[in-house]
Amino acid sequence: MPPLLSRRLLRLLGGVTVTAILGFLLLPALVVTLAAFNGKAILSFPPETWSWRWFAKAIEYQDFQAGFRNGLIVTGWASSIALVVGAAFALALERYDFRFKRALETVLLSPLVVPHFTVGLGFLILAAQLGWARGYAVIVACHVVLVLPFVLRSVYISLRNLDPRLELAAASLGAPPLRVLITVTLPLLLPGLVSGWLFAAILSFNEFTASLFVTAQSTQTLPVALYNYVREYADPSMAAISVMYIVVTATLLTFANVFLGLAKVLNVEHPR
């Protein structure tokens, strides 16, 4: 029965294709994870002996510790500032009509099309010109620019899904503007704000290209520290750090999923 056979073949082929694509997506993470447990001091695949020692080495390595700490400082400030600024702009763009509104929108979203390389170089030149030290302020400013579009979009979508009559109803029930904001607007925007902050934090913490330009030895973030390490050594502690990265990010997303619902955080689902 030829038609039946061809259909079965097609289904088989489809299954194989999907599996291959998913495997391809996960392949780098898988290879690196296995390499992290190599007993020998070389980045090889597959490992011949197994060990946890590279995790211990990575955690104890001074530059990685400093990079992790710097990364947390930069990420914390950058994503929080981007959240406040992005939410304010999102509110302005959604609620008000004014001249140059389209222009403002384009400028705010432009970091999406400007290469990180360019942004980093720009901040480097600017900082040198103004005589600023390459301290945290420059790195944070640079990261704010890079993650702002993501926060803006996330909050903007949440605002679009918010029924303005809810705020009117609250006002008519006796709530002054600030109380409307605290009791109605902010709680309903929370999933958008959290998802915006989370994406900003993940992006900022992983950002390498621009950071390479604006960090100094004392302020280098983790990705920059990793880069500096790999230029000199090639042992599996790199892979161990990568595994920790994956675990931390996955934990954050799981947390968001359990407490807020991932669908809401990713703005896939209507928040109401």
Binding site: L168, A169, A171, S172, L173, A175, T183, P187, R272
Partner: protein, 377 residues
């Protein structure tokens, strides 16, 4: 919250209120007085300004000119949260992140009322709308009708000086709509709360209102009781917007004082002369007649005009006859014949004589575009 005295006690007053949006004038110098305890309906087609008027009373909009007063206090530029109006929106606008009890208690919390007192009044309000026991549900776990009751309770529990209802029934299905209408009217009567109700549905307006303000193009065309609006419309717009109506061509015989005599075929119809000012005897005018005021005339009765039945629609309690009357009407004429015998007596194709209740019609100057000759009249 017992019934307050009615009469000329004014709860909401608008004086020459104008509101523009860009170049369009949404409300054009509208003045309106809503009596205390009254249910006033703002009726009109979409874009007539009725929702703008409601938003002005709620304080969501500020008028360009004119004054608004609630309970004798000028509130023209007072923000909504200090107006003490309760509003219920079309889609209810319940706070999705709060329980039913928190939704209903929101306005009381904003008034910094003590918790036990809030709990007591919320329970009282939920009992009033028959939703006690659902305090802890979230709005999305309620049916449409239940959500509407919660929205009503939320607006009423603050004992508003005026209750504003914005097309509250249009999201409900037909059966639920009728029962909610009865219920809301009952509650409104019981509490004696002054209510402004916005709708585009004329039958809803006729059945619920104490008075109706018919709006068109930013102006109030007529203000009156449902009966006045239905039986004594002041112009063609009101006559055709509220209820079904037939337009027949009649000739003016004479005008004497407040009464005009019109000839419709061999029959004479007396109508109020007020709507025919400046019309000379002999002129052709448009006679507006409700379907239930027309009847099929038995052999030997006084027939006004003749027509051929085009279709008959069985409606249970009555039969709707659609009749072609080329001698007196450009459109089809609708006759509402009580009982069921209409089905067998006048099948499609039957030639019938049509008579009308002589004192229940009203006439307006012929429309410029309806220049049709008036048969043998």
């Amino acid at each position: 919250m017992k019934s307050r005295p009615t009469g000329e006690d004014i709860a909401v007053q608008l004086d020459a209120v104008t509101k523009r949006f860009g170049k369009t004038t949404a409300l054009d110098a509208v003045s309106l007085r809503v009596r205390r305890g009254e249910l006033m309906t703002l009726l009109g087609p979409s874009g007539c300004g009725k929702t703008t008027l409601l938003n002005l009373v709620a304080g969501f909009l500020i008028p360009d000119s004119g004054e608004i007063a609630i309970d004798g206090r000028r509130v023209t530029d007072v923000p909504p949260y200090r107006r003490e109006s309760g509003i219920m929106f079309q889609q209810y606008a319940l706070f999705p992140h709060m329980s039913v009890a928190a939704n209903v208690g929101y306005g009381l919390k904003m008034r910094r009322i003590a918790k036990p007192e809030i709990a007591r009044r919320v329970a009282e309000a939920l009992a009033l709308i028959k939703l006690d026991g659902l305090e802890d549900r979230k709005p999305r776990q309620l049916s449409g009708g239940q959500q509407q009751r919660v929205a009503l309770a939320r607006a009423l529990v603050i004992r508003p000086k005026v209750l504003l209802l914005d097309e509250p029934f249009s999201a409900l299905d037909r059966n639920l709509r009728a029962s909610m209408q009865v219920e809301i009217k009952e509650i409104q009567r019981k509490l004696g709360v002054t209510t402004i109700f916005v709708t585009h549905d004329q039958s809803e307006a006729l059945s619920l209102s104490d008075r109706i303000a018919v709006l068109a193009e930013g102006r109030i065309r007529q203000l009156g009781t449902p009966d006045e609006i239905y039986c004594r419309p002041v112009d063609r717009f009101v006559a055709s917007f509220v209820g079904d109506v037939n337009v027949l061509h009649a000739r003016v015989e004479y005008i004497e004082g407040a009464t005009a005599a019109l000839a419709l075929g061999p029959a004479r119809v007396l109508v109020p002369a007020g709507t025919l000012q400046g019309v000379a005897p002999g002129a052709v005018v448009d006679l507006f007649v409700r379907p239930e005021e027309l009847r099929v005339v038995e052999e030997g009765g006084v027939e006004a005009v003749h027509g051929i039945v085009a279709a008959q629609i069985y409606q249970g309690g009555h039969v709707d006859l659609y009749v072609d009357v080329p001698e007196a009407a450009s459109g089809r004429v609708l006759i509402r014949a009580p009982g069921r015998q209409g089905m067998s007596l006048w099948p499609a194709g039957t030639r019938i004589g049509i008579g009308l209740a002589v004192d229940k019609a009203i006439a307006f100057r012929a429309a410029a575009d309806a220049a049709v000759t008036c048969g043998h009249a």
